[in-house]
């Protein structure tokens, strides 16, 4: 009989810390979002957002860029993860490290270097370069989780399907892809939300021509419009909540569904 180590007091510092520095700040976002400068309840910050054409357009554009970025990362990244986990196509364990390694170089520096490269080749900075830079920054975040789940898949599933006469194409779509769904989901999570909320990166990649939603939040906070900034952050939080719920539901399906 193994007796667990009961030391609930040991987590006390961290629980208190989390209460102050994780939970309370999130509550404060809500508090500031729903109050005016004097702490009175108001919905004005939200009505302001829905009347502010500039912020709305930026918001829509950010969602568009995020969708495109996520889609491109998935299309480019999935084959990479698949190739790297396929024993027949790749034997080296170092290659995956090579994909993750650039992340250790400061993200702003890498972004600037990319922008610099575009200027060097005389490519006009704009939406195209923005997307390229975003894909460049976020591709590793898509590859890694997919790689991890693909690696854990028992190869006997695919072999079984093949033995039963499935074509490799069919095996890929009916076995590999469904089994790697949790990885895809967390990849999407790790690319989509951060893209909507990036700031600095979009400006550097477009010479300030395009800004994303993160920049708007930063500008408002920087300009001491805390309540409005908090309201914008609150909207982001809601979207995060929805995407988390959606992806969680799907992974439940996955656990339950297993092989289709």
């Amino acid at each position: 009989m193994m007796k667990p180590i009961h030391r609930s007091s040991w987590c006390l510092p961290y629980v208190v810390f989390m209460a102050i520095f994780v939970v309370l700040p999130l509550i404060l976002i809500g508090f500031y979002a729903f109050s005016d400068g004097n702490g009175h309840f108001t919905l004005a910050n939200f009505t302001k957002f829905f009347q502010d054409k500039d912020s709305l357009a930026t918001f829509a554009l950010s969602i568009e860029v995020a969708i495109e970025n996520t889609a491109i990362c998935l299309l480019l990244g999935y084959p990479v993860a698949w190739i790297l986990t396929n024993k027949k196509l790749n034997k080296s364990a170092v290659t995956i490290i090579l994909f993750i390694l650039p992340m250790w170089v400061n993200a702003l520096m890498r972004t600037l270097a990319t922008a610099e490269l575009f200027t060097m080749f005389g490519i006009t900075l704009g939406k195209g370069t923005l997307l390229y830079g975003m894909v460049y920054d976020y591709l590793p975040f898509m590859i890694y989780p997919i790689y991890n789940t693909l690696q854990k898949i028992d190869p006997s599933y695919a072999e079984a399907a093949e033995d039963l006469g499935a074509t490799p194409w069919r095996v890929f779509w009916k076995v590999t892809v469904p089994l790697s769904k949790p990885g895809i989901m967390s990849g999407i999570m790790m690319v989509f939300m951060p893209t909507v909320s990036t700031f600095a990166i979009s400006e550097f990649l477009t010479n300030n021509k395009i800004k994303l939603f993160g920049t708007i939040i930063q500008e408002k906070i920087y300009a001491s419009m805390w309540n409005y900034g908090a309201a914008l952050a609150f909207i982001m939080l809601i979207i995060i909540g929805i995407t988390t719920l959606l992806t969680n539901n799907d992974s439940d399906n996955q656990v339950e569904g297993g092989l289709i």
Partner: protein
Amino acid sequence: MGIAALAALVSCSTDRSKILKVYNWADYIDEAQIAEFEQWYQEQTGKEVHVVYQTFDINESMLTKIEKGHEDYDVVCPSDYIIERMLRSDLLLPIDRNFGDTPDYTQNVAPYIVEKFKQIEGSGKDANDYAVSYMWGTIGIIYNPKFVSEEDVKTWEVLRDPRFKDKIYMKEAFRDVYTTLLIALNKDAIDAGEKTIEELPFDTSDESIAMVEQFLNDCKPNIAGYEADFGKEYMTQEKGWMNLSWSGDAAWAIGEAKDMGVELRYAIPEEASIVWFDGWVIPKYAKNVDAARYFINFLCRPEMALRNMDEIGYVSAIGGPEILAAKQDSTQFAAEDATYFFGEEAKGVCIDPVQYPSDEIIARCGMLHDTGDRTAALQEMWSRVKGDSANALTYIIIIAAVAAIAAAALISKNRKKSRHKKSGRR
């Protein structure tokens, strides 16, 4: 060492009377003077002070930090129309110019500028009581003569000339751009005497905004980027051919480019320009007013003014014979009249026209003013022009993505159901 630095900073922050928080434009001072001021202040007053120096690159962000954030900067360097606005909203403290044994160097500010400061409409207050001008200049175009001719930049029309596609860097300063272009586009009306340069900067009517917006939209294919600060750098690197910029940045860029073997020039198109002024003020949330006013006084010493001019390229508001003597150079510059700034002695002096434009150019320059409630309208126009923002395609993509996700969710739900049925049968 790091721990020591940390400890020092923590202990410093407790004694606020030993700290002077300076909030200035980026690249806007010879930074060696900060340490010199600390020493000078101790010599003059026997008190110790440590300067915390921070920079901003957009007037408005500085203003909101003070107005809404109540940040305790002691001395700040806003532009004329912001001083106007700060005076109107009662954000400034009057500057006490009695420095005891220390001379009052603020008297050195050129009479021309004192006169211009009187035009600041700060609800009855004289701006000269609350602000000491630091630098001033014009707005114009830095251009690279390799690609752009002197003839081209004689008119603001150059900004929408299709030959310069993707080669112009636009200053991220909607008010300066709006006012300049508004005066330029009204040239005929001004010549006909229907409108005046003094009135136009106050004009923010929808028609005027639409007029400037139309012009800016025509320019858009030429705009390579919007910059608050890096334009001059990009010009010296020949990444851009033209940069709508302030005269001081122009002087700096021309000097810097010369060292790199690139020729740059500055032109004020003939229709119009703006004279602008930046001045030191003490915000009402300042915590070290005494050090702040000494800091302002220190910067008004002609010696410091000259050094700052050399370092940053902008033109000091300090006038007088010492400056005129130092600035004349007959080997480099042609003679012009700069009497508006230096008085009668400056008739036909050889002085840098980028820094001190001639009397006749000054005559067709407007001044920036606070536009009050209409500022938002100007700003909206600016973001409409800038925005490579959402279009129909954006919404199509979003709707398609949402539809795809919903469809995927539905399919997986149905599958789950049918699977349940199957397993039930089993």
